[in-house]
Amino acid sequence: MTYKGDPLAQKLDQVAEATGFPRLQRRMQFGNPVRFRVMPLVLLALAVAGLVLQIGRPNGFGYLVIITVWSATTIVFVLGPLNNRLGGKLDERESAIVRKGHFAGLLVAFGVAVLGTFAFALGKIGAMIGLWNIWAPETGFDWMALTFFLLTTEANVAVLAASKATPEPLQGDDDE
């Protein structure tokens, strides 16, 4: 699919194609969505590891891990079934998949947020009566890490649920 005509422009186009980015862009725009099975689980595990690091060593390294995982999550999100590839109106099947995915993602993120705040509250009570001391966010890095952890959780669970709800495309689905 390289340009043909002016030799210099042709060479530059070949170099651009060799980087793989044009192919990736075409896939993101027009290709069938990738049905992710493992990658969102790996990213979720890495996000949990990042949060554990942030709790253990509140020097911002855990936050950096979570931000990196979040960046990878956006790529998974764009390649997955939740991305509106052509930018137009979603049909009823696609809308149902997006709703189903985000419902699952928001439900899990909400559950994590509720359990987390409950744990923080218990930690405060325990600390007041001298029984235990549970970690609670204090610094800006802690809060940002928590924010991006919840975003990562929502997006990856949504991609997993949407991937499960998307049938395997067969060759010829887009035929003329």
Partner: protein, 82 residues
Amino acid sequence: MNRRIYNRIAVLRVEAGISRKALAEKVGVNPQTIGFLERGDYNPSLELALNIAAVFKLPVDLLFSFEPFPTVAETLLSQGDR
């Protein structure tokens, strides 16, 4: 409640000489959705089912059913018995 709904879209579409893309444009969905419908991977809404039936100018119950439709061979054989 997720009973499988069988349909005759593929046969009627080929008979009418319409591509998936053309049918998708007529009923306002993605061509992949037509593919998933034909394979029975997706159950359409009532609105979409009625729109597809209108394209083929057939009542909706001749296009969609909870029971599998007889194949063309079975239909021809049953006509031969008469």
